[in-house]
Structure formats: structure tokens, C-alpha cells
């Protein structure tokens, strides 16, 4: 049986609290979270996911190297979010914030 959106969010919230406690968990948690919060997910999950990504890349506790590696995994998903027509404003807001944080990392990478 598929877990409901609320159940999934409460599990994701636990993972987020773990990462907030120790930033070393972010590189493991972010790739695990990405398939759950994709553009096809429910609105609440997309909002949570976009907020989580914005928070991750703006956190001073995460090292620049870790952020750079994660930015390469996230950049394609950000594009998918932005290209979805009629996407929720709150999601777009967090996605643009994330894009702001990773722009210099991608610029540095390529």
C-alpha cells in the first residue's frame, strides 16, 4: 500500500531534521529525496522538496565541495520544475532561490 502524502512528508521531515543536526548527511539525503519530490509528485511534496533544496543550498553548514556535487544532481530537476506549465508560485519561488544558490557552483564547474 502506497503511503499517503502526509506520511511521506513526515518521513521526509525526519530526514531533514537529521541533516539539520549534522550537515554531513546532506550528500546522502538529497539524492534519496529527489525521486520523491519530482515534478510529477503531489503539490505538498513539491512544495516541501523545493523548500528543502533552497534550504540545503543556502545552508552555511554544508561545504562548498558537497554543494557543488549536489548542484549537478539537482540542476536538471530545477529545469523540469520551471518548464512545467502552471507550476505553483511557492514552488517556483523556492526553485528560483535554489537556482540563485547553485548558479555560481555550476558556473565554476563548467
Amino acid at each position: 500500500m502506497q503511503p499517503t502524502t502526509q506520511e511521506t512528508i513526515s518521513q521526509l521531515e525526519k530526514a531533514r531534521k537529521l541533516a539539520l543536526g549534522d550537515a554531513a548527511y546532506y550528500p546522502q539525503i538529497v539524492p534519496g529525496v529527489l525521486p520523491i519530490i519530482g515534478p510529477a509528485a503531489a503539490l505538498d511534496l513539491r512544495r516541501w522538496g523545493a523548500d528543502f533544496l533552497a534550504e540545503t543550498f543556502s545552508s552555511p553548514a554544508v561545504s562548498a565541495d558537497a554543494k557543488q556535487n549536489m548542484s549537478l544532481q539537482v540542476v536538471h530537476m530545477l529545469r523540469q520544475y520551471l518548464e512545467t506549465t502552471g507550476e505553483d508560485s511557492a514552488v517556483i519561488k523556492s526553485v528560483v532561490q535554489t537556482a540563485t544558490s547553485i548558479y555560481q557552483l555550476v558556473f565554476k564547474h563548467t
Partner: protein
């Protein structure tokens, strides 16, 4: 005269080894090697050393460019909250892609370089540093 990118490639491979060897010579106060050490220092301080690490990965940059134009297009029709985030994004783009002191915090530190090196290097080196601080955007002019 080597190209900046070629010098950077060489130095990435051998920089640590070079620094170890050169520091041994430097402590023996042999002027030409101290000059060479200074060149390596300028090279690793130059933007070409740090900025481009995966030039062949054009797909990632292409995606980022698509994101950039998508965000720029949103400036006209989105509600003010999203528009504010877009302005912040544009601010970052301008900051990152402006060459010189604004974009590169290491260049700002170059003005203190002569203080750190003053007691260690000879007159020729300090002259080069002065030239470097006068033209921080053109490391190639003194190398």
C-alpha cells in the same frame, strides 16, 4: 610565453611537488627559485587556476543557461514574491559573471600580498608584486 590555461593544467598536476621543491630552495635564499615560487603563487591565485574544472561538461551549463532564460522571462508575468526571487537571481548572475574584484574575492587580498612577502623576497619580486597589484585582472602581463 605559455597560455594561462596550459600553465594552470601543468600546475594542477605538479603544484604540490613544485611547492615542496621550491620551498627548499627558497629557504636556501636562491633568488631565481624564489622568483619561480612567486610565479607559482601568482598562478594559483589567478582565476584560470580555480574557475574551470570541467570545461567538457557542456550539458550541465546548457541546462543552467535554460534555467537562466526561463527565470528572466518570468520577470514580466509572475506575482511580486516570485519577481523578488528573480531579481535576487539576476543580482547573483551579474555578481558571478563580472570579471575582476567584485567576482573574485582572492584578488582583493592581493593588496596584502606584498606585506606577507616583503621580508622573504628580493627587490625584483616586490617590483613584480607591485605590478600585479596594479593590474590584478591581467596576470599574463607579468608572467
Amino acid at each position: 610565453m605559455l597560455q594561462d590555461s596550459f600553465r594552470a593544467t601543468i600546475s594542477v598536476v605538479s603544484c604540490v611537488m613544485c611547492m615542496q621543491t621550491l620551498s627548499a630552495y627558497c629557504s636556501a635564499r636562491i633568488a631565481p627559485y624564489r622568483l619561480c615560487l612567486f610565479h607559482v603563487h601568482v598562478l594559483i591565485s589567478s582565476p584560470s587556476f580555480f574557475s574551470i574544472s570541467n570545461a567538457a561538461d557542456s550539458q550541465t551549463w546548457q541546462t543552467m543557461a535554460t534555467i537562466k532564460s526561463n527565470i528572466l522571462r518570468r520577470m514580466e508575468k509572475e506575482p511580486s514574491g516570485v519577481k523578488l526571487c528573480c531579481i535576487k537571481f539576476i543580482q547573483r548572475v551579474v555578481q558571478v559573471q563580472t570579471p575582476g574584484q567584485v567576482a573574485d574575492p582572492r584578488v582583493r587580498d592581493m593588496k596584502y600580498l606584498h606585506l606577507a612577502f616583503h621580508t622573504e623576497i628580493d627587490y625584483m619580486c616586490s617590483d613584480l608584486i607591485r605590478m600585479r597589484s596594479l593590474s590584478p585582472l591581467c596576470p599574463a602581463t607579468i608572467l
